[in-house]
């Protein structure tokens, strides 16, 4: 029998059974959300997984940092850009972030065949997809809110009227979350189809950014036919334009798009309806895809 001794000899203490708490499904899902969020920034992952997200974080923060310095040092008594406009102006960077992180959240588990291990845990396929979505959305929201927080600090330091700034900042945070939900959902709905991250990334960039061109084309066509009021809805064809439209029409923010979206009550309803429709389609795609994955797992 092994007995404690002073020699520091390692004894095989045998297999230890566990009689502590088993936390159940809500804890499992929360843990998976946290894992996805960490993964979005490469935390706890090998070095090369940190490179892309942190370069993008840098790109996202840099303009805000420059603006902060100008605000504090320069003579200006006006914000160079509204908080929500910053989100639209840097859409290239946040689109690349989602394009790189959505495949990391899903394609990796598909490629390495990890799904059966998740599904053999006390959770469901739906729990898995929901957790991945919430984690990526949280990561994207943080990614979007970080630079406008820098702007806000700049505004406070340069003693711009705080009331106005706080309202603008808080509304932009809400808009950032609205945007993060949409682009994360689109990113995941594309990423779930392929195990190849490169392909998923290209697909997501195409949908998030090239649809901008589509909006432009529709705008030009409708505009040339004299349908100006209709042409203003063309922004709804791309995710950033759509969210900008929601900001302008529902939240009363100054639009970041050149082709200013309509700001009426009815246009707000239309934009929100399109927004929810897209989310519904993404949920449908993910649901169908993962039913297949679960059956094959």
């Amino acid at each position: 029998m092994a007995k404690p001794d002073a020699d520091g000899v390692i004894h095989d203490i045998g297999f230890r059974h566990y009689d502590g708490a088993r936390m159940g499904r809500p804890f499992v899902v929360r843990s998976l959300v946290a894992d996805t969020l960490r993964g979005a920034f490469g935390i706890g992952r090998p070095g090369r997984e940190k490179v892309t997200p942190w370069i993008l974080v840098g790109c996202m923060m840099l303009p805000a940092f420059v603006m902060l310095i100008i605000l504090v040092v320069g003579p200006g008594d006006e914000m160079p850009v509204e908080y929500n406009q910053y989100l639209i102006a840097l859409q290239l960077v946040s689109a690349l972030f989602v394009a790189s992180r959505a495949p990391y959240a899903l394609s990796r588990d598909l490629r390495d065949g990890v799904m059966p291990l998740y599904l053999s845990r006390p959770m469901t396929t739906r729990d898995y997809v929901t957790a991945r979505f919430l984690g990526l959305t949280a990561g994207t929201t943080i990614f979007l809110v970080a630079p406008i927080t820098l702007l806000f600090i700049g505004a406070l330091l340069s003693e711009l009227p705080p009331g106005e700034q706080i309202t603008g900042f808080l509304l932009a945070i809400v808009l950032a979350a609205v945007l993060a939900v949409l682009i994360s959902a689109i990113g995941l709905a594309i990423a779930c189809f392929t195990q190849r991250r490169g392909i998923a990334m290209a697909g997501i960039v195409a949908v998030l950014l090239l649809t901008n061109g589509l909006s432009g084309v529709f705008y030009q066509i409708l505009d040339s036919r004299g349908e100006i009021s209709l042409a203003k809805y063309a922004v709804a064809f791309n995710p950033y334009g759509l969210v900008d439209g929601i900001g302008a029409s529902v939240m009363g923010l100054t639009a970041g798009n050149d082709q200013a979206p309509p700001t009426t009550m009815s246009s707000g309803i239309i934009f929100v309806t399109v927004y929810l429709l897209i989310l519904g389609v993404c949920a449908l795609i993910l649901g169908r895809r993962y039913r297949k994955v679960a059956a094959g797992a």
Binding site: Y18, M23, D35, G44, R45, R108, V114, L119, R121, P122
Partner: protein
Amino acid sequence: MLPVPEIETENLTKSFGSVTALSELTVDMPEGIVGLVGANGAGKSTLIKILLGLLPPTSGEARVLGFDCRTDGPSIREIVGYSPESDCLPRDVTATEFMVHMGRMSGLPTHAARERTADTLRHVGLYEERYRPIGTYSTGMKQRVKLAQSLLHDPQLIFLDEPTNGLDPAGRDDILDLISQIGHEYGISIVVTSHLLGELERIADHVVLIEEGVLQRSTSTSEATRLAGSVLVEVTERADEIVKALKKTKAKVAVSDAPDTFAVEVADEKVLDAIVAAAARLEVGLVRMQQRRHRLTEMFDDRDGGEDG
């Protein structure tokens, strides 16, 4: 005491369209190590998925540790472990990170997941390599990680689907020893599948054989091999007289090629007494009485032969 059935199925049927993966399967699996044997495509993996509550059966009932597989999937999966047949390990994280994550996915609080990760990796012999990315592991090491993740949360029962896949004979023996240790020393019941009966007979307490979704046989291995076994007897002299004496008691005796050696089929314990008694009466020395367990493979071969004939 009769072994308690940990898994019970009754008329369990699973069809995928026109393909029947499992047909009217009624079987009890006791605690200990159960070998689930069948050719590829016999329905082993389908059965495991139903038992995990991941796949609804077309008809029939299945219960695991008292839980209904149709309705209590998450409860079953909390106290059951599973290692799938396919590759299932992320390449870019270390075994430790992967295990801690999987522990939390089983509902272990983070500190418990960390503690048990180190312990479990030591048990499967991966303690030194635990901070290396899994992508750099050999096939044998990956099989150990797969085993470890199924064991991490101290389940009452684990399902191992073809755990020796892709291993060389030495690696296969190592994994089988490890499984035997888990099942017999750690007190965790195991259902282990293989398409090779031969490799499971060494470690399994009970064997369930299925073919094309139909139950062929469900037997306790000790019972099966003890009763169907034989002893090899070697005496100092007069072997033929002992053989004659034994044949009078209606024992089945086969003469061996070696001098003064013969084999006796052991129908029950009395046969052994008869051998000793005969040797004593003729005053010859018993050199050895060696139990020759029938190999399970032979047993099943007999059955197949019988059916064909």
